[in-house]
């Protein structure tokens, strides 16, 4: 496998010199809003939006400069400062790498992120803590930007943890209710498991290569033994699974719906879950060298794609259905990334397109929830198409994009992934491809179900709800995202535009991808079939307000396919037993030893104390006896 040219990174010029401004804007916003307290309540949300937009504008400027460059000049590295000066071999300069891959993420994070922030101005208008909310959102964006622009794994790790912290704060934003703090804790713990993988990967890199920078690691990785490379790949995958909610660390994502809806949109579209895909694609030189690690990535991706889709089918909570779909779509991206140089760019293309339509879908769902007095049960929606026309149209755009109807963006980015999976060849290729096609069919089914249950049919909502269209501050971001859902895929994939753009980072794909007509037709047919089944079940028939008991499969999917039960029985219970055993050993063993020594000392001295009578005569007797003993001892030694 040839090495990619990603190692050729030139020093910063022009706007890249101040690339730190990208991070500085949202960090400044977060600092002012979180430290400023109530004084900033009145204008805090405006500052938050402005800082995010400023970061976006700066990202566009960087992008424009990059487009003006040719070849290696597109990958620039801005050294910011030296965090750890050389201590032995350990040396961590903090630098920002602005190249083709990171600029895609920068634009997605700041662009879609800004739209979500604008939407949140309206969505959170009635919340007394709106200022705190925007502080956290800015922190989230800043951490995510550091994650994607750092030029070494330690910098990436700081951003990675920052994202974990921000998501924790935001999921648990309504901390005065019982569920959000629990969900936040769960997300944090699941992420910690993944973080452990990333940490170990960084340790291993340093031990093997003496470097943690991308350039340093990637230039030496081909010298490492295959076992080390595979271990690195699997550890990185564990990290990616935590952040991207892939099997087996998927369980936090559905609970994370407890956060306010803009947070869900931000986590699912622009930040957080995309980090895992970024990590895999950025570490392409490592994965290129280990087909075993890549195979595991594809299996995890395909399994999660099906897993998430199945969960989405049974959820009556509109946000949880969408969360299942995120899990599933990220699964597609992981599947693509696991296919190697063929798939890296496809993963990023799907990620960008997904950013638009998933943000649009979540904002639409948020608008519905907002107008329905925080009701999220789709069985109590129905007939909303007539009262919320803009939301309906934008949601439909997102819907058509996610199920992959041409010319919407999902079609252009998901189909190449399915084709690439088949093109992998062999049994694994056929299995992965089939799984991807089935996943597409199920996606069509549950998304059509969401559409029908929410927007079509009879009104099933309470008398107290008076839904009407959301204010313009909420609908305008939805419209922009809907346009993105329509155009992004075609724009990115037209004549392999994005693939060629990313080629210096991800490697040139061995064969160029035209549309393989039969596979494309088959997957489209499966999608239409899935949608038709959903129409037959939920469009033609009346949707009952209370959920029917459902089949075994439905019950299982409602319970997240027993993901929590699995974690509880396999990890939590044995963990508790281990704790109890340790406590027992600590109390009886370690403490017992220490305490018995202390008790015996106490007992002995208690007995000795009785000889201290306080009578001078007895002391004198002891002295006399002592003197006599000394004299006799002296005599004995003498003799």
């Amino acid at each position: 496998m040839t090495l990619t040219s990603a190692e050729v990174t030139l020093p910063a010029v022009g706007a890249v010199h101040a690339a730190w401004l990208l991070l500085a804007f949202p960090s400044f916003g977060a600092a002012v809003l979180l430290l400023g307290g109530k004084r900033t309540n009145a204008w805090g949300h405006l500052l938050g939006v402005t800082m995010s937009l400023a970061s976006f504008v700066y990202g566009v400027a960087l992008f424009a400069q990059m487009l003006g460059e040719r070849g290696a000049g597109r990958s620039r590295d801005d050294h910011v400062y030296t965090w750890v000066p050389a201590i032995g071999r350990f040396h961590v300069p903090i630098g920002l790498q602005i190249d083709q891959l990171s600029i895609c993420f920068v634009l997605l994070i700041t662009g879609v992120g800004s739209l979500i922030l604008i939407y949140a101005v309206g969505y959170m208008a009635a919340d007394p803590d709106r200022r705190r909310f925007f502080g956290y959102l800015n922190l989230f964006i800043a951490a995510m930007l550091l994650l994607v622009t750092a030029d070494n794994y330690v910098g990436l790790y700081i951003g990675w943890e920052g994202v974990g912290l921000a998501s924790y704060l935001l999921i648990g934003f309504w901390y005065y209710n019982p569920a959000p703090p629990v969900a936040a804790k769960k997300a944090f713990v699941a992420n910690r498991v993944g973080d452990a993988g990333l940490t170990l990967a960084i340790f291993l890199m340093f031990a093997q290569f003496g470097s943690v920078s991308f350039a340093g690691v990637f230039s030496q990785v081909h010298n490492a033994s295959p076992g080390v490379v595979t271990a690195l790949g699997l550890l990185l995958l564990l990290g990616a699974c935590g952040k991207s909610a892939q099997l087996p660390l998927q369980s936090w994502l559905l609970d994370a719906m407890e956060g306010p809806t803009p947070v869900s949109a931000l986590i699912h579209a622009a930040t957080m879950v995309t980090a895992g895909v970024y990590l895999i694609v950025r570490s392409a030189p490592i994965f290129n060298l280990s087909s075993d690690a890549r195979l595991v990535v594809t299996i995890v991706g395909a399994a999660t794609a099906l897993f998430g889709a199945l969960i989405g089918c049974a959820k009556d909570d509109i946000k949880k259905a969408l969360a299942g779909s995120t899990m599933s779509q990220i699964g597609y991206m992981m599947l693509a990334a696991g296919l190697g140089p063929v798939g890296y760019a496809l993963a990023i293309a799907h990620l960008l397109a997904h950013g638009f339509f998933k943000a649009g879908l979540f904002l639409g769902a948020g608008a519905v929830k907002h107008e329905m007095n925080d009701e999220v049960d789709m069985r109590r929606f129905g007939g909303l198409a007539t009262v919320m026309k803009i939301t309906f149209v934008t949601f439909t755009f997102g819907y058509l994009a996610i199920i992959g109807i041409p010319p919407f963006s999902g079609f252009f980015t998901k189909d190449p992934i399915i084709e690439a999976a088949f093109a992998k060849g062999g049994t694994s290729g056929a299995l992965l491809g089939t799984a991807a096609v089935i996943g597409a069919g199920i996606t069509a089914f549950y998304m059509t179900r969401v559409m029908f249950m929410t927007f079509a049919g009879r009104k099933r909502w309470d008398d107290g709800a008076h839904p009407h269209e959301a204010p313009p501050v909420m609908t305008s971001p939805m419209v922009i995202l809907a346009v993105g859902s329509l155009c992004a895929g075609g724009f990115l994939m037209f004549s392999n535009r994005l693939i060629d753009f990313l080629a210096p980072v991800t490697g040139t794909p061995p064969l160029s991808h035209g549309f393989l007509a039969p596979i494309s037709d088959i997957s489209l047919a499966v999608v239409v079939a899935g949608a038709a089944v959903a129409w037959a079940m939920y469009g033609r028939r009346e949707v009952p307000v209370t959920a029917p008991r459902g089949s075994f499969a439905t019950v299982a999917a409602r319970k997240d396919l027993y993901g929590d039960a699995f974690n509880e029985s396999v990890l939590m219970r044995p963990g508790q037993w281990l704790t109890r055993l340790s406590v027992f050993f600590d109390n009886r063993g370690v403490d017992g030893l220490v305490n018995s020594v202390a008790a015996s000392m106490g007992g002995t001295s208690g007995r000795l104390r009785r000889s201290q009578t306080g009578f001078v005569r007895s002391y004198a007797l002891f002295m006399l006896a002592g003197a006599v003993i000394v004299v006799f001892a002296l005599l004995l030694v003498r003799l």
């Binding site: 306080g614 009578f615 001078v616 005569r617 007797l621 006399l624």
Partner: protein, 100 residues
């Protein structure tokens, strides 16, 4: 003929009388006198040995012991007087405030 052994025997008897007195008597003054008796028993043995060896070392040490004993009597009697003033008793068993 009185040999050094006789002096030593007398010194031992005096020392034992003094020691027993220190151990069994409660009156601090009597205890004090018994201490003096023990010191003088030792003095007697010093003198006896000095005479036996024909040197002056033992006699000099006996003078030292007398000087120390005199100083000790001054301090000890002062303590006894103040204890008696405070507690209306010179019994050594009553002077047990430091216990507990």
């Amino acid at each position: 003929m009185i040999s050094p052994a006789h002096y030593i025997a007398l010194a031992v008897i005096l020392f034992v009388i003094g020691g027993v007195g220190v151990l069994i008597r409660r009156n601090a003054l009597v205890v004090f006198m018994c201490v003096e008796l023990m010191l003088n028993a030792v003095n007697l043995s010093f003198i006896a040995f000095a005479r036996m060896h024909g040197t002056l070392d033992g006699q000099v040490i006996a003078f030292f012991v007398m000087v120390v004993a005199a100083a000790e009597v001054v301090v000890g009697l002062a303590i006894l007087t103040s204890i008696f003033r405070a507690r209306k008793s010179v019994s050594v068993d009553d002077a047990n405030l430091l216990k507990n």
